[in-house]
């Protein structure tokens, strides 16, 4: 593979089905965290996953990325069944970030990104021990590529800083750079704007558009309604483990069931809140309550 030097972009045919989750169910003992969820994500699209706390969004992510093996159902990626093993999922072309930032805290930003390249480089310990030219060349290429990715997410000056010393927003961007380093076709973002101020949120939005423009598909979990409806081509709302509504942003946004799931049934005489309008952002009040 030559992806290490070839840029993040892939050839995109927007009609291609990339991720097909079919009837995914995840039970923990008597608790059904994800109940018969079916979702399709196409190449090059931004897909949003919303839902109140405890709806099973992160559990669903964990099923996709091989951290959990679904109780039943099947996940296919680019036509093949995904193996329930995180490192093979990464190899297949799916990468993720975390709701709680999980960087390697005692490594520099650059090293964090280079760890992400592990599965895309070929040299092994033998090459390294004997310092074969192949190893030296690949190290050099990996370093350059990691710097490009840091530039891409806007962390140009932070390469040699320990990741735990980076500001919060930068840590989130570094997680995205590290995920991009695995050269994914689909990027899963778990609440990428949690804890961000409006300006950082806007920057995150721009970054996700930039990533989509490279030809990647993005599946994003969010609570911030304005953010998600600005960003996403299609949105699914997950409630109590099951898909309540799925469709283009405007449809989901105005679906009374979605509004009800978030803020309860509106009283008869009150107008339904205008989701996505400035000043009326039901997601924010509920997020991470």
């Amino acid at each position: 593979m030559t992806q290490v030097t070839s840029g993040v972009g892939h050839h995109v045919d927007a009609s291609t089905l990339l991720l097909e989750a079919a009837h995914v169910t995840m039970r923990f003992g008597g608790l059904t965290a994800v109940n018969d969820v079916s979702l399709n994500v196409h190449a090059g699209e931004i897909f949003g996953l919303i839902g109140p706390n405890g709806a099973g969004k992160t559990t669903f992510f964990n099923c996709l990325t091989g951290l959990y093996k679904p109780t039943s159902g099947e996940v296919r990626f680019a036509g093949a069944v995904l193996p329930p093993q995180p490192r093979l999922v990464v190899r297949a072309g799916m990468a993720r970030t975390f709701q709680n930032i999980r960087l390697f805290h005692n490594m520099t930003a650059l090293e964090n990104v280079m760890v992400g390249m592990y599965s895309r480089t070929k040299t092994n310990a033998i090459d390294a021990v004997f310092r074969l030219p192949r190893h030296r060349r690949e190290e050099k290429e990996s370093t350059e590529r990691a710097r490009e990715l840091l530039d891409f997410v806007g962390l140009t000056g932070a390469a040699d800083m320990l990741s735990r010393n980076l500001p919060y927003g930068d840590q989130r961007r570094l997680e995205i750079a590290r995920a991009l380093a695995t050269d994914p076709k689909l990027l899963l973002l778990d609440e990428p704007t949690a804890g961000m101020n409006p300006q950082e949120t806007r920057q995150a939005e721009e970054l996700i558009f930039k990533i989509r423009d490279l030809g990647l598909a993005v599946l994003v979990i969010e609570h911030d309604m304005r953010f998600i409806f600005n960003l996403c081509d299609r949105v699914a709302c997950l409630v109590r483990g099951a898909v309540l509504v799925e469709g283009v942003g405007a449809v989901v946004q105005n679906d009374p069931r979605v509004i009800e799931a978030y803020i309860g049934a509106p009283a008869e005489e009150l107008p339904a809140p205008q989701v996505g309008q400035p000043g009326a952002n039901p997601g924010e009040g509920i997020a991470d309550a």
Partner: protein
């Protein structure tokens, strides 16, 4: 003053031996949180592997100094390393890997079992290999011309060549180790795994491979220590791994377990303290019979006043 420097050299030599073994404890602990109590036996097996290589080469006794230093010794080191790494990887595969998700006590007890198994295995079967000496008691380690029995005089300090070999081996190994950990992708994967194994998996790292690499690196260094021990003390013994392993474990804890630099520093500090204690503590408490006491007193003091070890960072909860 001459006595001080003499003991400093002796301490450094002993400490370098501990440090070479301690790295294996600390690297494995950093990645799988297992105190591999069989690691002392990996060191012992390395010494026997080197000895076996010498036997297979036809017990060369009258090679020239150059041939001994540049052919015989490297071959013996290689033989020792191959034996140790092979044994370490087998124990990892068949004793520890099946217990990867078991409670932490299970692999710990297994490690003690592996330790006893390896000692007894060498004791009972080494002599069964055709032509090999019986290993039920100590075996004389072959003398390498140019090292064994040789020494150099610097001022009033006598430096034994085996000590030079041991300290040099540690220096070279440390440089290689630093390069491996910081400048190769397997090394980076090791650090990443030691910080957060689940996230490492989600970044595409094959954690099983990383664990194998950790066991392999530790075993290789232990084998070098095994040869250094043979050269320094002139004999090897199936029991030699027990106390050496315990001391090296102490060194790893002293430096901060999980921290590679800490293992090196801890080993050297421990060796120097032992050497100094036997010389500068007056009366019967300074006799060599007491040196192990001082080594473990040091461990207790460090654990009381600096539980994270000399170089170990305080463990911080993840956000």
């Amino acid at each position: 003053m001459e006595l001080f420097f003499q003991q400093l050299i002796n301490g450094l030599s002993l400490g370098a031996l501990y440090a070479l073994i301690a790295v294996g404890y600390t690297v494995v602990y950093g990645i799988v949180q297992l105190i591999n109590f069989a690691h002392g036996e990996i060191f012992m097996v390395g010494a026997f592997g080197a000895f076996g290589t010498w036997m297979i080469l036809g017990q060369p006794k009258d090679w020239s100094v150059a041939a001994s230093l540049f052919i015989l010794l490297p071959l013996m080191l290689l033989g020792g390393i191959v034996t140790s790494v092979a044994v370490a990887l087998l124990t990892e595969r068949f004793a520890y890997r099946p217990l990867r998700n078991a409670p932490r006590l299970a692999p710990l007890i297994t490690a003690i079992g592996v330790s006893v198994f390896l000692q007894e295995f060498v004791r009972l079967f080494y002599g069964r290999i055709p032509g090999f000496p019986d290993a039920k008691s100590a075996i004389a380690f072959p003398a390498i011309p140019g090292i064994s029995g040789e020494s150099i005089q610097v001022g009033g300090v006598l430096i034994q060549m085996p000590a030079v070999f041991t300290i040099g081996a540690l220096a070279v190994s440390t440089v290689f180790l630093w390069y491996f950990v910081n400048r190769t992708k397997t090394g980076r994967a090791m650090i990443a795994t030691s910080q957060d194994a689940d996230t490492a998996r989600l970044m595409g790292i094959d954690v099983d491979k990383v664990i194998v690499a950790a066991f392999g690196v530790g075993a290789g260094l232990a084998a070098i220590a095994g040869v250094a021990h043979g050269l320094s003390y002139g004999n090897i013994d199936f029991r030699m791994g027990f106390l050496a392993g315990l001391k090296a474990f102490t060194a790893a804890v002293l430096g901060g377990i999980g921290n590679i630099n800490g293992a090196v520093v801890g080993g050297l500090v421990l060796g120097i303290v032992e050497a100094m204690a036997t010389t500068f503590i007056p009366g019967q408490f300074g006799s060599s019979a007491w040196k192990d006491v001082w080594a473990f007193v040091l461990l207790i003091l460090v654990l009381v006043f600096r539980p994270q070890g000399l170089l170990g960072a305080k463990v911080v909860d993840r956000a």
